[in-house]
Symmetry: D2
């Protein structure tokens, strides 16, 4: 019997990209609110999702420093499982219900690519960095305090695709400020067989269902996001017309499920 | 309408990991013949493939320096599309027919991961290197001549997983020496939905069908392969009990199809 | 007038590897105490340093996640200035005074290489990782609590060179437990000119003089270090015969000076 | 006795960044001729070098895929010694003699950084790629033939700093077309000691003296170079006002000497 949730499948199951779910995560993140041209947002939504008229092109950009584990202390092999991530979430409606959709996402780790593609996150490789908070603060280590600045950047295929900045104002005391719409993705597995290349094996709207979400050390302030124009890339079509609040916090959660909302192959 | 063969799907289709097939390739490669413990080979084969009794654990290890393009001069963006690869191919039988199966493969590029997973190649990220041939030879640049040595290495998740060496003896004059069995892979797309995690969305035996294969500058000699024991990895279960011939050559081909041999979900 | 502390020197001084000192640092680190074969330690010490008979091969292995800045908010460009580091410090005596010497050190950033070589740290490139602490703890994010585990690893030139593990027992309440010997390095700049290749331009014993050292969230427990045997590398000559305590903490300091103890060219 | 030409110095000398000279190289390269604003070129030249009035801002941009070895088959450890490089050479005069000066250079390997700094090449880390020629040509592998295109790119600190394109016209039959001015660099080793930070330990004009230069498969055609404006970088001050010829060839040489032309500390 071959073992392994993702490739490769082997008798012992050690070489596989990921252990079986549940998957556990801890992180630090930056979240920057922005508004794009609503037409650009509408053009990116897959069938089954509608633009949110209340949103007017509203979205969030997120930089994450992640740590991952399964059941076997995978967090003690950080060279294999620790990773960094940048992604965008755009406001949308599914059957009238407020959701958000991820059109672009980049990570620096293959295990994270595999888990992402299994959840409809359209991950590519990228080099992602964010300014870190260390308990020993100083000129090189901003405190969690009003005025402190934390920056993020994304490079993929050798091109700078995104830059962000969060300037802290105050701790978040109302947990409602951290509430996020459910993420609805396009789960997509293409077929290479001649004659079937326009008939993907899997093409579904899916809803992510993380649970046991825990947020700590959350601060809010101002956000700034730039999405530069780059040859060969579409991301800058979402270049912000304005930015809103910025958040810096720590977050943990568990992933072990995915809900199919709609099979788009039918 | 969203465009893109692989993730992400966008209105313009520029950010997608790969252009639609046909996919064109040129390369330099090292090929090292080896024999593993036949029981280790048998244990790795997926349902539907049988050990080849004629082979006694026979396989090939390959190091490739690849260049890829679609229809739009993607080879002129080497930061995005050039890549390096290491993989193993094990002799097997499908319904009595000689084929080979790829249990492990590593590349250093995300577009290559995506194309691979669409063909059943169980790719992970790795750092792959091979000694290069340059027309300006010298102490640092081995000539295509008897006695010249070309080495290859693979590191993944920070661990050295494979090393190879080819020592040239003579040019290959008989094209039959380069004949390879068809590659039959396990095409596998897991499901994350609770209750379906042991029921993959796609789980098929597939046969790769590259065409317009062109081989140049092929030399043959002796091959040497080592697959060190590494915590958290299964590759060393195939550690060679002996090695055979080694080849160094250039190769080009086209990929635009995949044949399903057997749907294993049924 | 050309500007730049390190290469390259340019009219505006923006492209230089590093801004001029003072250099500011914040970090999280793991520190693992170990004992090597005293003869292996003695063999590594440069002229002017003596083995510490009290030490019997005693040293420390350190994994650092660093953030760096000069005077111009360089910490807001983490893709350029954030980095990770592994190094060893060996007990020694300089003119009878207890010091420690750094024989091996690896970082993943070129600005850090340049600053290191200017201080006598013999830096090479490496991929360094350590398990991180996030305020949002969980299965993937160990708490600062008894029994929590933090691992570190180093890979260079594709080879795993070091692994470490710290298991926490209790917070450090006595600052004396964090006291470290001054670091004395061999500052070395070779000459390529024919006839001068054995006469380095700079060859000095130097003492590092960081100041405004600040340590936070320090925990102590057990340490474990392995230095595997690897072709082409000498590090494993220091493979621990036993390990001692392990520390995990955050640290900040400032560097703007270096003291020459002895010019070894004379 | 400690051994090692560069850091680190160890009893066996295996861990050192580089073996002692002579250093042997083989490569493929792209060379693109360009003209910058002469004032920008003049501003970059170190003391002792004068703008070449004949040149009017003339320079060359070079993308190299290198293989390196010392005396011990280092080319068989390509993960440690193979590398890629981008650099600029600007026409200048030294005491009236035509030379060229390297203001910017980027490589993806630490051994190459160390050798470069020892020769006055102001190397930083970068990700460098060039389209490759394979003997098995095709849509992904341009032939050495009129009209074939080869592209190069450089990214450093996450930013695209240079792009080049060479379109072949014809083989080079006259070796004089490949003649290059001698490279004169600024050899620079700063001092960190307080009070000496503006008094570098080494600050010299040096002339590189490679020998046994061998060039093969040289083709000439049109060159195109772009040096985009990037925050935090000065390279774009040299953005071409026009471009000239482009060359693609293979090259080998040996390095074992460096000539000091002028000590600038005096």
């Amino acid at each position: 019997m071959l073992k392994g949730f993702h490739y490769p499948l082997t008798p012992k199951g050690k070489s596989t990209l990921n252990p079986p779910p549940p998957w556990y995560y801890s992180s630090d993140f930056l979240n920057i609110e922005f508004w794009s041209d609503p037409a650009a947002v509408a053009a990116l939504l897959p069938p089954g999702l509608d633009p949110d008229p209340a949103g007017s092109g509203h979205g969030n950009a997120l930089f994450y420093d992640w740590q991952f584990t399964g059941a076997n202390e995978e967090y003690l092999d950080p060279a294999r499982y620790q990773y960094r991530e940048f992604f965008l979430l755009l406001d949308a409606l599914f059957e009238g219900k407020p959701v958000c959709y991820c059109p672009y996402i980049f990570v620096d780790n293959d295990a994270a690519i595999a888990r992402g593609w299994t959840q409809g996150y359209p991950k590519r490789l990228g080099q992602v960095f964010q300014t870190r908070y260390y308990a020993a603060t100083g000129k090189a280590g901003p405190a969690l305090a009003p005025g402190s600045k934390f920056a993020g950047s994304l490079t993929a295929s050798g091109r700078r695709l995104a830059q962000g900045l969060v300037t802290l104002k105050k701790p978040i005391t109302d947990p409602a400020a951290l509430k996020q719409r459910p993420v609805v993705n396009l789960l997509h597995t293409p077929r290479l067989a001649a004659g079937k290349q326009s008939k993907p094996a899997v093409h579904e709207l899916v809803e992510n269902a993380p649970h046991d979400i825990k947020i700590e050390q959350a601060w809010i302030g101002d956000g700034l996001l730039t999405l530069p124009v780059v040859d060969g890339e579409d991301v800058s079509d979402l270049a912000p017309v304005r930015c809103g609040k910025g958040i810096r916090a720590s977050m943990a959660y568990v992933v072990d499920d995915l809900k199919t909302l709609k099979d788009l192959t039918k």
